[in-house]
Subunit: 324 residues, 2 copies
C-alpha cells in the first residue's frame, strides 16, 4: 500500500528526470472564479501529462533483472506514453495495449517513444486485462497498471509533494486542491502527500458528467461504476470505477466529488489557452472547469487545480478553440 | 547604457515578482531539428510575454515620486501589457498608446490590467512618438520605451541570466541562442547576460521574411530599416529598425540574423502546441521556427530558442492550429 515514505522514495528516484512543473495563475482567471486560482501545469511534464511520474516511479522501482525483461501497460493514451518513455529512458522494451479508438496522437506518440503498440477493439468486447495477462505470461514482462498499483500512486504523489512546497512558498497553507480524476491514481497520490505536508488542503476529485464513478463511490461509501461506455470528450479519465487501492485512500482523505459539463470543460480549455498559454486536453481540464465555474460547490479560499494532460488531438483541439 | 550590473540589479528587483520561466524540450522536436532544442517558455511569464520583465524593471527603477505620477508607453500589445501590469502592481497610473489595428486581445488585456488605452491610426500616418510626447508633457508621466531604454533592456536581460543558469544546470555551456527580434531589447539584453555568464553561446536574432531590419543592419554594420509597413502575421516584432541603444550591443555580440517564412512560423506554432503544450503567438515562434527548420544556417550543437510571447488572438490561433 502506498504511503508517504514510498512517495518520498519515488521523489528521490525522480530527481533530475521528472520535471517540477510550475504552479501558474492569471488575474483574469481569479476574476472569473472570484478567488485565487492556481494551475498545476502537468501538461508541461515529460510526455505531456502527469502519467510520466507514475510510469517512471514504477519502472525505476523494479529490480534490474526484472526490468530488463521489459514492461507492459494498457492505456487509452497518457499512461501509455508515460510508461513507454520511462522504459525508453531505462533502455528496456515496452509493449502498450491501446484501444483502437484512442486519439491518433496518443497512439503515434507511444510508438515514437519506442514502445510496441498492440491495439484492441474496445467496442467489440475484447478484455484488455486478458490480453495483458497473456502477453505478460508469454514474454515475462512486468505489467504496470495505470492507477491501481502502489508504485504508480507513489509516483503521482510526487505531484502532491510539489504542490505542498509551491503553495507554502506562496504563503498558502489551506484551500482546495481539485484533481482530474479517472481511476484515482493522481487523486490518491496527491491526497497522501498533502495529508503529511499540507494538511490544511482538502482534495476533491473532479469528473465529467456521466462518468462520475468516483463522486458516486465517495457518496455511497463503496466503489460504484458510472455504467457508461468509456468513450467521450474527456477520453483520458473515463475509467469505469475507482481502483481497489485508490478508493480507500480517496474515501479516507478526499472531499465530495465534483461533476462538470462538457461545455464547462471546453470553456476551461479555451481559458487555459488564452490566459495561461497552455494546451490542455479535455480530461485534463475538468479540475480547472470546477475551479472557474463551480465556486458554489467549493469552500472559501484559494483553489489549486491540476491541469493533468495536454495530449489533445490537434484537429479536435483547434475546433474547441474556435468555439466548437 | 545597459551593462551587467544593471541586469543583475534588475534581477534583484524582479525576485518574487517576475516568473523564472522553464526551459522545455521534447524528443520529437529534437528529432525534427536533428539536434537538442530547448525552448525558453516566456509565454508563461506574467502577461504572456517577456515584456513584463522590461516593464517591471523600468517601473521599479523609477524614484517613488516620479513613479507616482504614472507611466506611459506605446506598443502594439505585449509591451503595453507588461508596462500596464507593472504599473498596476506598483499602484500607479498607466496610459498606453496602441495602434487601432493591434490584436483585440492585446487591447482588451491592457485595459483589464488597469491601464488607460489611447488608440491611434497607424495607417493614417499619426506619429505615436508625438502623441506620447504630448501626453508626457501634459501629465508629467514617464515614458517607458519598448526597447531603446536601458532599464527595459536590463529587464529583458534577466531572461538571459536564467538561460545561462538553466543551460549550466543541464551541463550545456556552448551552442546557439535564437531570439525573436523586433527592436532588439530581448536580443541585446540576453546577449549582455550571456557575454558574462555563458560566453560559449552565440546569440542570433530571428525575424520574419520582409521584416528583417536587424539581419540587414548586422550585415551592413549600420542601422537599416526593413521598409515595410508594420503590419503582418508576426505583429509583435515588426519594428521598422533596430534601436539606437540595442543595435551597438547586437552588433558587438550577436551572430548573423536569421530570416524565417510565415509557413515556418505557423508550423512552429503547431509543433509548440502539440509537443510542448504551449500557446505561442506568431512573433513569439520565429526563433523556434529557425531552430527547427534552419539547421543549415546554424553551427553544430544545441539550440535554445526563446518562445517570446503567447498573446495570439484566439480565432487567428485556432485557424493556424487547424492548418491555416
Amino acid at each position: 500500500m502506498t504511503d508517504l515514505p514510498m512517495i518520498e522514495a519515488a521523489a528521490a528516484r525522480a530527481r533530475g528526470v521528472v520535471r517540477e512543473t510550475p504552479l501558474l495563475s492569471s488575474p483574469f482567471l481569479d476574476a472569473i472564479a472570484g478567488r485565487p486560482v492556481y494551475a498545476k501545469a502537468e501538461v508541461l511534464q515529460h510526455t505531456g501529462s502527469f502519467k510520466f511520474r507514475g510510469g517512471w516511479s514504477a519502472v525505476s522501482a523494479l529490480d534490474p533483472a526484472t526490468r530488463a525483461r521489459g514492461v507492459l501497460a494498457f492505456s487509452s493514451g497518457n499512461h501509455a506514453q508515460g510508461v513507454a518513455h520511462a522504459a525508453q529512458l531505462h533502455g528496456v522494451p515496452a509493449i502498450i495495449i491501446m484501444p483502437r479508438d484512442a486519439p491518433a496522437l496518443k497512439i503515434e506518440n507511444t510508438r515514437a517513444l519506442g514502445a510496441e503498440v498492440v491495439l484492441y477493439d474496445r467496442a467489440g468486447g475484447e478484455n484488455r486485462e486478458e490480453i495483458g495477462a497473456r502477453l505478460q505470461a508469454e514474454r515475462g514482462m512486468t505489467l504496470i497498471k495505470p492507477f491501481d498499483e502502489p508504485q504508480v500512486i507513489a509516483g503521482q504523489g510526487t505531484c502532491g509533494l510539489e504542490i505542498a512546497a509551491q503553495a507554502a512558498a506562496l504563503g498558502i497553507t489551506s484551500g482546495t486542491v481539485l484533481t482530474c480524476c479517472g481511476g484515482g491514481g493522481l487523486t490518491s497520490g496527491i491526497a497522501l502527500a498533502l495529508e503529511a505536508h499540507a494538511p490544511g488542503f482538502t482534495v476533491r476529485p473532479v469528473e465529467p458528467q456521466g462518468f462520475d464513478d468516483t463522486a458516486r463511490s465517495l457518496a455511497a461509501g463503496t466503489r460504484t461504476g458510472h455504467g457508461a461506455p468509456e468513450v467521450g470528450l474527456c477520453d483520458a479519465i473515463l475509467t469505469p470505477m475507482p481502483g481497489a487501492i485508490t478508493f480507500p485512500i480517496m474515501s479516507r482523505l478526499c472531499g465530495p466529488g465534483i461533476v462538470v459539463t462538457e461545455l464547462e470543460v471546453k470553456e476551461a480549455m479555451r481559458l487555459a489557452a488564452v490566459r495561461l498559454k497552455l494546451v490542455v486536453e479535455p480530461g485534463g481540464a475538468v479540475a480547472l472547469a470546477a475551479a472557474l465555474f463551480h465556486g458554489r460547490d467549493l469552500a472559501d479560499g484559494p483553489v489549486i487545480a491540476t491541469l493533468s494532460g495536454g495530449n489533445a488531438d490537434p484537429e479536435v483541439y483547434a475546433g474547441i478553440l474556435a468555439g466548437g
